[in-house]
């Protein structure tokens, strides 16, 4: 099995990177670090796709001139062009999701003054209780 893993070392590295990202996502309590973990997982997917599209000894998928004014269109000259398009989609979605998540994190930090998710939840419940107490007081005031 180890020989096969060494043969597919790009894919193995991608899988290990994705594991690191998942661990980061689960274990970190800091939201920014969680987002970094998500980005590491994205990178692992790009590495995997790029490795799947590679064919040894072939050129990048940009048509080459064949010397007599034409173009080489034999499919045995170029690597697989589809993973490049898929990785492009992945990068765009990852950038968008990261920006949106960071904006929400910034709002959370502005409201609660912390990036730690446990502490933020704690402060959220405290604020909720304070609010409920205030509402109760107000209701009592109206009733009396």
């Amino acid at each position: 099995m180890l020989e096969k893993l060494l043969l597919n070392h790009y894919e193995a590295a991608a899988v290990i990177l994705s594991g690191i990202g998942l661990t980061n996502l689960l274990l970190q309590r800091n939201l920014i670090k969680k987002i970094i973990g998500l980005n590491i997982m994205d990178t692992a997917v790009y590495l995997f796709l790029a490795a799947k599209g590679y064919v040894a000894g072939r050129a990048a998928p940009i048509l080459l001139e064949n010397g007599s004014g034409g173009w080489v269109t034999s499919s045995s000259v170029y690597v697989n062009p589809v993973p490049a398009g898929l990785v492009l989609t992945g990068i765009v979605v990852s950038v968008s999701v990261t920006a949106f998540a960071l904006a929400l994190t910034l709002k959370l930090y502005e409201s609660y003054g912390t990036l730690n998710i446990d502490e933020a939840l704690l402060r959220m419940t405290e604020q909720q209780e304070e609010l409920e107490a205030k509402v109760d007081e107000a209701e009592e005031g109206i009733l009396s």
């Binding site: 893993l5 597919n8 940009i62």
Partner: protein, 330 residues
């Protein structure tokens, strides 16, 4: 025998319901000093361990130790999950076809079709550009729309709230020593040092970066690159200008309004032109869009204008992210 069993049962029952036998290592809090009968306080229910019922003891124990034990179990389980997932995936990777082999199932007839006919069908020298902007152009349209939507949502979340910020809300700020702190009220614009070196380097390099970005966008169908990478290069020029000359100078020619107008115009042009191309193509109608000869700058049908549209959207969006996250406004 029966009597002994009954005694054991009674002591167990007492222990569960409270008032049980006193544990040997219990620390008894000192008795409160005898007081006047009128100021007698109610007896503290949890002061003595053996007087609490099992349920009370349990909830007390959970209050003290629960979070700690939960976090230990949680981290152990998450590490275990990750190890299991990674080893399963590694076992799968070991069974994959060998890396870089041309007989891999991924190199099938789809790839052969794209490479052999892509050139004369799309007119683009770069097969990937022909793939993403001609065969799969609606997918790329969706990507541009996703980027635009993300920029607009970040603008909604960060921009609008800071404009009508209330006085009692906390907002992050930087003091003179460069330390972050939270302050009440709207954020004060941070003071930027006028850096002569940065300014000189920016004056020298911004035209070069802009030209490089334009080359990458316009040559997208002839060489590696295209709208996404070229747009990212253009946005770095904008970000450098904002850092060197201040956001106010960039704001004069690129602000929120410019971003919204240019991005939505680019998206509209993309949708209409590609919609026309797909409509004529699907119905076998004659299309007025010329393919051109492969290798010329004016070739590839719609790929060049679509690349420019995508480049505009990406440049605006990435600069918008930077400006929104550092200044809260575009």
């Amino acid at each position: 025998m029966n009597e002994e069993l009954k005694a054991i049962w009674r002591s167990l029952f007492d222990w569960v319901m409270g008032n049980g036998p006193r544990p040997e290592n219990e620390v008894i809090p000192p008795e409160p000093p005898p007081d006047l009968p009128f100021t007698l306080k109610p007896k503290d229910k949890y002061s003595r361990f053996h007087e609490a019922t099992l349920k009370e003891r349990y909830s007390q124990w959970v209050e003290i130790h629960g979070l700690h034990i939960f976090s230990i179990v949680y981290s152990g389980l998450s590490v275990l999950t990750c190890v299991v997932v990674v080893s399963l995936l590694l076992a799968t990777v070991a069974e994959l076809p060998p890396f870089g082999d041309e007989k891999n199932p991924a190199n099938n007839e789809v790839i052969r079709r794209y490479v052999e006919h892509g050139g004369h069908e799309t007119g683009a020298q770069n097969i990937v550009a022909g793939l993403i902007l001609d065969y799969r152009a609606f997918d790329t349209f969706g990507e541009s729309a996703v980027l635009f939507t993300a920029a607009v949502s970040v603008l909604m979340i960060l921009g609008a709230s800071r404009r009508n910020k209330q006085d009692n809300e906390l907002s992050p700020n930087v003091n003179e020593d460069g330390k972050n702190f939270l302050q009440r009220g709207p954020p004060i614009k941070t003071f930027r040092k006028d850096d002569a070196i940065l300014r000189g380097v920016a004056t020298l390099s911004i035209p070069v970066i802009l030209m490089m970005g334009c080359v990458v966008v316009i040559n997208g169908h002839l060489s590696p690159g295209g709208g996404f990478s070229g747009g990212a290069i253009l946005s770095t020029a904008l970000i450098l200008a904002a850092n060197a000359y201040g956001f106010e100078r960039v704001h004069d020619f690129f602000n929120e309004r410019t971003f919204i107008v240019s991005s939505s115009t680019a998206l509209m042009i993309y949708a209409l032109s590609k919609g026309y191309s797909f409509f004529t193509g699907a119905n076998h109608l004659h299309s007025i869009i010329p393919k051109g000869t492969i290798g010329n700058i004016l070739s590839g049908g719609l790929i060049l204008p679509l690349n420019i549209c995508v480049g505009l959207i990406v440049a605006g969006t990435l600069y918008g992210f930077y400006a929104l996250f550092s200044e809260g406004d575009m």
